[in-house]
Symmetry: C2
Subunit: 556 residues, 2 copies
Amino acid sequence: MSTEHENAIQTEGDLLRDALARSKRKRVRRILRTMHPAKIASLLETLTPLQRVAVWQQIDEPHEAKVLAHLSPTMRDELRREGDQDGLDDQDDQGQTSSTKTLADAAGESKPAVQTQLRLVLEALEAGKLKRIARLFRKLHPARIAGLLESLPAAQRVVAWDMVDHERAGKVLRHLHEEVRRRLAAEMDLDDLVESARGLEPDDLVDLIQDLPAKLGREILLALNRRERERVESMLSYDEESAGGLMNLDQIAVRAEISVGTLLRYLRVLDVLPPNTDKFFIVDRKGRYQGILRADRVLTARPETSIADLMETDFEPVSVDQPGEDLARRFEDQDLISVPVIDAGGHLLGRITIDDIVDLIREQGERSMLGLAGLDEETDMFAPVLSSSRRRAVWLGINLLTAFLAAGVIGLFEGTLEQVVALAVLMPIVASMGGIAGSQTLTLVIRGLATGQLVAGNARILMLKEVGIGVLNGLLWAVVVAALSILWFGQWAIGAVIGVAILLNLLCAALAGVVIPLVMRRLGIDPALAGSVVLTTVTDVVGFFAFLGLATLVLL
Amino acid sequence: MSTEHENAIQTEGDLLRDALARSKRKRVRRILRTMHPAKIASLLETLTPLQRVAVWQQIDEPHEAKVLAHLSPTMRDELRREGDQDGLDDQDDQGQTSSTKTLADAAGESKPAVQTQLRLVLEALEAGKLKRIARLFRKLHPARIAGLLESLPAAQRVVAWDMVDHERAGKVLRHLHEEVRRRLAAEMDLDDLVESARGLEPDDLVDLIQDLPAKLGREILLALNRRERERVESMLSYDEESAGGLMNLDQIAVRAEISVGTLLRYLRVLDVLPPNTDKFFIVDRKGRYQGILRADRVLTARPETSIADLMETDFEPVSVDQPGEDLARRFEDQDLISVPVIDAGGHLLGRITIDDIVDLIREQGERSMLGLAGLDEETDMFAPVLSSSRRRAVWLGINLLTAFLAAGVIGLFEGTLEQVVALAVLMPIVASMGGIAGSQTLTLVIRGLATGQLVAGNARILMLKEVGIGVLNGLLWAVVVAALSILWFGQWAIGAVIGVAILLNLLCAALAGVVIPLVMRRLGIDPALAGSVVLTTVTDVVGFFAFLGLATLVLL
């Protein structure tokens, strides 16, 4: 061996040891790919057994044999055993089916399979069999990989993330929730990240850049060619959840004058059409939107027909600043696959496709559920304890204020409580019944507002209906609670007081459940986020005040 | 006039008066359509002014002039004024734009427009200008009409429903939520309902029949021809939310041996393809699924190419009994438009398209939000007071049991409360902080279970993380609440007791938030429905017990 060669080994070896020490597995794999099998083999001989196994897990399977050929016989056997175990492990395990079958199941898409995949990944991580993860990932759709990564605790997630081939990393990033996406992108070497980002569609790229720290985003932009960069930069200016932010630039736009035959020749040149191409867009000489041509019309028309005869001019385009929520409703109502997006001057800018709308609808559903618990920013189940604690503390703090308010009301009646301690025992019942009834009304009204089905003209009727329900349920539960309280404490007066308090609180809960979200909406506050706190405050305060106030009047 | 003629007038007049008296406006319209303008005119002369206006609102606009021509001059002027007012009303109204503009806006799809439409309908109902509603409805997509109908209070909804042309009534029914759909279908005359149902796709027809009383469903089935009936009956046997229940039968299936040219000739015969046809399905001689051919491959291929060369055989079909939830995830992950559905023998049965999946995702989102408030069956904002009250009473009753349990715990410490009444004042704070913290954890776990991201392998780590958050937030708020309580009551011991109780309750809330939904899932109970009640019970009981128990030990 020449000195130069030795130096080269040394340098690559150092890089590799450094990457190993810092657990940068993607980098280890990248370095290994540039190395000759013989070099890898001699490097392996110099490593500690632990390091050796770690490096071995990063060697691509097709290259294993070549590297083995260059190893000393003992080491070859050692590593070959390491490799074989991969396949054998599961068979050794009594309770499990053979690994081939499990993997075949795992590649399917039903839910048990999803959970089987997750279990496989968790086991492989436990056993340090990273190759097994890489093998599974290669069989799965990027969205599924994203789902698996999100299911992993933070430390293990980084390890598994390193086993995603960087050609697919961009697509996986696209499918991750914002918080996880930001963290995993930050884990990557900059050039890997840039490389992965390159494979993305412009709209996904825009999403990714918006979620990354500004510096990383700039690096990605710089790596694009001028035309791509200009496109992405123009899209970055739109709000993430407006038509502009959801829009893609892969539309096929043609002029009305051409014939179906000409269009078909053009499509044949393209060979593969962009996904979700259910219609083509017709533009005039200046790029202004004129109408649509459904793809199936092209299939069924004769080649000599002019597109002008087949196009539909009454298909309404979407304005670039239209909010995503309205778009989702239109897609849903009209069963659309794609719609054209135009600017204020009527020029065709791009199109929005159903896949992005489906993601939007799912996210909205999730957000409204998480929002009710004050968790709207907590999209990562395994976010670090400290940042989760901080975010949740805000919600607990707000709640504490309202709890102290309720306590303050109780405090007004200390004298009464001292004399009739039974009141302290029954007190939470009044508040809790009001809270439950109120949140039922609140949920219905929030939904009505979100769907646009509630306006000034029908809100009064809804309120009447809710008050009606409040009266009926108020009477019913007033009687039940009064009877139980009398049985418990043997005092008619206590029963009467709690019954009236419950009726009052349920009526008040119905009113508050309708009024609070309507007022919040008018003030520009999202009732889905803050409504329930305000409502509980009202039902607590009214409940305690009515119950203890009445008791003071009647019992003392 | 012959006697016979007079009799006929009389009979139709009777029918009409009867329909009017019973507010069956759809029937009135149907009768009017069969009558000669002269007959209608002479009938109008015999009616009371109120009846006359009501009938006039049901005469189709194109026929107005013909009927007017047969009327006496005074009545003609009277009714013409009635008609003219329709157009003038809005202009007379100072605060409003001209009706043409409002209607044009209303036909758009942005949210302000949705609310404008609703306002228009409510105003028209108020003024009895039913024709205006019919005119608006004719411009709108059935889904939008359904949305408007759902926004109307029950009585007004029936009136507006009668203004939906019965040719479109089926499509509108398809877009209504189950509860509303059932009510409005019951409002229709049977033959109208059968007629409307006929225009539906088999899968929508199946949905409709499943929601109707068995008797009505049978009538609809009987009105179909044998082939249709057999199809629908076979689909009725599948679970509504399984692949079979979501499946449609409009797929285009071809054999692999034919050429693209042959396929194109076949498609030209069809002329219009079923919506969402992004792929064709390849079957063998026995109808067994072989693979897919993407529609854009047909567009870009040369006519002589064989389909066997273009088809993809690795596209995984869906089994007819696969649950809808998994399907939704697959559509979402893989950005699909349609998938083939096969039976256990591999035969192609039908296909599932994205529009039904979008509806499913939206419904799931809604249900999980409504379910948290025990409202999962309350899809009609304007359901009758009595049935709403009954449904909600169940939830209130369950909650009452848990409230009495909490009260029972407080009752154990009556002696303590008698001596230190400050405890009664602070008590709700401990319970409420625990409830909020617990519901945050619970929400996260329920979401993890729903997405399949939570399994035995990572549940322990999630629990550790949640307990960690519980410790941090517990310490923080223990200190804050203790400090505030000492300031309020001037007793160090009370501060210490409430601080420790809050820490304990937040820890317990974290554990319960993870464990309760996992146990429920294993027992086959939906944690999204019942989880929060059980959780609040735990945090109330633990909170009260810890606080009052510690106080008894420390303060007495």
